[in-house]
Symmetry: C2
Subunit: 202 residues, 2 copies
């Protein structure tokens, strides 16, 4: 006797959900049942949002941010400082920096970071476009993560940008806001010490 | 100067993903960017699976399992024992029991468990249908979770089913397979002791 199984439509939905990052087999089943059973769920709205985004949204050829047929909000934004460029890994890194209020120049999204283990090489990132955008006298801020891949990517970019006549900087590493010393690991403390700044009121 | 923001299509997709269970704001952004950027992603296939499942799949009026226009695989299955009914919380609980090979009767999916804190009352569960299906001489196995809500639901159902002439059982609680005593909490050990069985070879 064959054991029971889900209808194909359910199996197919679970299979597609399971492909999403950080969604495992059990999460996929739980999400699928919620989508099909909960009064709060709206699978049609999610399907519409997916189709709409897939049809309308492309990554900007210039900066790698999310663009539509109306153009790239990042490249079209008015009143930005044109002589300062902030390099981030992902388009999703742009909004947190915007919200911080600390930067009003242009952005460049690499689309990832160098990671030999994940087969991400320089040709997989938006580096050629960055070299085209870098002009003499410009400041290029490398706002990459502080992990091994972020460090490697920063060093690689600094090397590639060396002859462009840019000022190349990297965002500071140190204690996170609200974090006491007792929660910081040794490497964070080392970087925080190395990056100490003068606050004497002269 | 207005700060940058995502195109509406991206914001809408993130908003819909954020509504899924166990997907927080950061996960929703990470999933959205993966869907729009990764070569492995196929948002159109996911949208299709959602639309297809939403259009084709309903919950069976009788047993609460996933049914389609072809009927309910759970109710239509041939060769099942008709005098034994297994009550589970969710349709997703059916397949694990099937795979265990320990049960070949019929199923009844409640669609949840009693939980006053989450505003789940008896009228929210498929209990009236269960009372209709329960016949004298039948065994009703309560295969509910071992948490507070599962216990409360089991007691409520046992009370409701009392006059139906059924044998009412509940699946055993005890040590999980592969789990040593050193990993078991006190309540699990208490239940395992209370549920001890005779293995003397007489």
């Amino acid at each position: 006797m064959a054991i029971l199984d889900y209808p194909d439509a359910v199996k197919n939905l679970v299979a597609e959900l399971k492909r999403l990052p950080s969604v495992g087999p059990r999460s996929a089943e739980r999400i699928a049942i919620w989508l099909l059973q909960s009064k709060k769920a709206n699978p049609i709205a999610l399907a519409g949002a997916l189709s709409h985004a897939a049809a309308d949204v492309v990554l900007c050829d210039v900066c790698g941010f999310f663009a539509t047929q109306d153009g790239c909000p990042c490249c079209l934004a008015l009143g930005r400082e044109e002589d300062i460029l902030c390099v981030v890994e992902q388009p999703t890194d742009v909004l947190p920096i915007e919200r911080s209020g600390a930067f009003r120049g242009r952005y460049h999204c690499l689309g990832g970071k160098l990671s030999p283990l994940d087969h991400v090489t320089p040709s997989d990132l938006r580096i050629a476009g960055l070299l085209t955008r870098a002009r003499p006298g410009m400041e290029v801020i490398l706002a990459l993560g502080c992990d091994v891949e972020g460090d490697a990517t920063a060093h690689y970019l600094a090397e590639e940008l060396r002859d462009k006549g840019c000022k190349i900087t990297r965002i500071a590493q140190g204690l996170p806001a609200g974090g006491g010393l007792e929660h910081a690991d040794e490497l964070t403390l080392l970087r925080a010490m190395q990056g100490r700044r003068n606050i004497s009121m002269e």
